[in-house]
């Protein structure tokens, strides 16, 4: 009973929040509803008893959306609406609609066909974290390692891109605000 109510609360709020993310023209609204929607999705994991995955969803997406905020802060005036450019709204509508329909079909086909099988059932007495760890280091070891290498490559690339003048601190270097000539000009103007 409680689960039933909780599921519908989480489901409805997730849908509403993500629609705000898509439809709103304000960066701040979009980002905030995105973050809140991610938190709501973690609620589903808790309802299904997958505490570990729920918490991971929470931590990972809270951090990821925080980084998105940093970009929004740099690119937009967050208190004003963004003017979007629509070149061909019909094409966008068509492609987006088709994508949505395809995804719904992909995910609902096994449910309609009723051939969903539980390949690795939950063993009693084993916590969530242990179960995830076991699967990760036996069955999915190679994808796990490949993902680790990809992250490493991305990190090295990021450091190389940002690494120019990394040995100097930006806040402690004193930049000359005005050069000598313009300073003289300002002084001349003032003396007049």
């Amino acid at each position: 009973m409680y689960e039933f109510i909780a599921f519908y609360i989480f489901a409805i709020s997730t849908v509403i929040l993500f629609s705000i993310t898509v439809f709103s023209k304000n960066v701040l609204y979009s980002m905030t509803s995105l973050a809140a929607g991610m938190v709501m999705i973690s609620g589903f994991f808790f309802l299904l008893g997958a505490d570990f995955l729920g918490v991971v969803q929470l931590i990972v997406y809270v951090g990821a959306v925080m980084a998105l905020y940093a970009f929004a802060m740099m690119f937009f005036d967050t208190t004003k609406d963004v003017k979007e450019k629509y070149n061909s709204p019909r094409l966008v509508f068509l492609l987006g609609g088709l994508m949505a329909v395809v995804f719904v079909i992909i995910f609902s086909a096994p449910i309609i066909g009723e051939n969903l099988q539980v390949l690795s059932p939950i063993t009693d007495g084993v916590g969530n974290a242990q179960a995830v760890g076991k699967v990760l280091f036996t069955k999915y070891l190679i994808p796990f390692e490949v993902a680790a290498i990809m992250l490493l490559v991305a990190m090295v690339a990021g450091i190389i891109l940002a690494g120019k003048k990394m040995d100097k601190s930006l806040t402690t270097t004193v930049l000359p605000l005005v050069d000598k000539e313009s300073e003289d000009e300002i002084l001349k103007k003032e003396s007049r």
Partner: protein, 336 residues
């Protein structure tokens, strides 16, 4: 654990505990401001609050009245909804995080004979949940700064983002070594692991210090309170806030301080186990109080750091130390 041993969790019990947490922590957070001012005054050879009540004890009520009756201002160009939501996020996440930490040992209420488990919601990944919730709490300052259309606010929220990205790694990695030793993510397991009297801080002194430093960064305590650094950015993310909206940020910050105190005392300092002649509930209160005092002491003793110093400290000093600590712990555990 045997199935019959499990404490019974009823909806009424959870609601009562939630209300208790809200009431007690809000009261302690309010009283914490008085303690903070008194201790800081003592350390800086001042008197602190003195005029309201004996030893200034009623200063708390005076401050409360001031906060409640202050005019509530929303700046003209601010994003009103987000501006109103931001303080609620800080306060709410701080209290949600407190819902998953155990404070007292399980006990039975005398006369009515009701068994009370110590924890409002025993998530079996408690540590991660609490850390995740506290991380989500930083959305409060972030949104507040971005919604108020004030340059100081925007700077404050930019600093929130970098502070979050800096300390979060250190918190996780420093707690990883104790988690490896105990082999569980549940606070209750941490507590029972230390029930023989050997505190985890003896095995993991480096992790303890790293966690405290990261914890101070997490709660914006003074060496790292970049978000509202008065001398540089007026008040940072709270520049435009007044009255109870500001009060909610404040309560959230103090609740987070208490949460960090509870986590540190359960994970590293033996939790709520009995020690010598002292029962567990006195021990944990003493430990939390000491850790709270330590935060005030650090505030009195150290100056602010700059944002680039914080990033330097977190990424170039603390994170490598934490990684080395984890590796050494792993090697030792394999060898034994």
């Amino acid at each position: 654990m045997d199935a019959t041993m499990l404490p019974e969790v009823t909806a009424v019990g959870v609601i009562i505990k939630a209300i208790l947490i809200l009431a007690v922590i809000s009261a302690i957070a309010g009283f914490g401001t008085y303690i903070e001012r008194k201790i800081l005054a003592f350390m800086q050879r001042r008197l602190g609050p003195q005029h309201v009540g004996p030893y200034g004890l009623l200063q708390l009520i005076a401050d409360g009245i001031k906060l409640f009756t202050k005019e509530d201002i929303i700046p003209q160009n601010a994003n009103r909804i987000i501006f109103a939501v931001a303080p609620v996020i800080t306060a709410a996440t701080a209290f949600i995080a407190l819902g998953a930490v155990p404070v007292f040992p399980d006990f039975t209420i005398p006369f009515v004979d009701v068994y009370v488990p110590s924890i409002a919601s025993d998530v079996n990944v408690g540590i991660l949940f609490v850390l995740g919730m506290m991380a989500a709490g930083l959305y409060g300052p972030l949104l507040a700064g971005m919604a108020q259309s004030n340059k100081w606010g925007l700077l404050g929220s930019a600093r929130t983002a970098i502070q979050f990205l800096s300390y979060e790694v250190v918190t996780g990695l420093s707690l990883l070594a104790p988690i490896m030793i105990v082999g569980s993510l549940s606070f209750v397991d941490f507590n029972s692991y230390q029930s023989n009297g050997t505190w985890l801080v003896l095995y993991q002194p480096i992790a303890f210090i790293l966690f405290l430093i990261a914890g101070y960064a997490e709660t914006n305590r003074t060496p790292f309170d970049l978000l509202e650094h008065e001398a540089e950015i007026v008040s940072g993310y709270v520049t435009e806030y007044s009255g109870m909206r500001w009060g909610m940020f404040f309560i959230g910050e103090y609740a987070n301080m208490i949460t960090i105190g509870i986590i540190a005392s359960i994970v590293f300092l033996g939790g709520y186990n009995d020690w010598w002649i002292f029962p567990g509930w006195i021990m944990i209160i003493a430990k939390i109080a000491f850790l709270f005092f330590l935060m005030l002491w650090v505030r009195a003793a150290w100056p602010h750091v700059r944002p680039d110093q914080l990033m330097w400290l977190c990424w170039k000093v603390l994170m490598p130390l934490a990684v080395i600590n984890v590796v050494i712990t792993g090697i030792v555990m394999m060898a034994i």
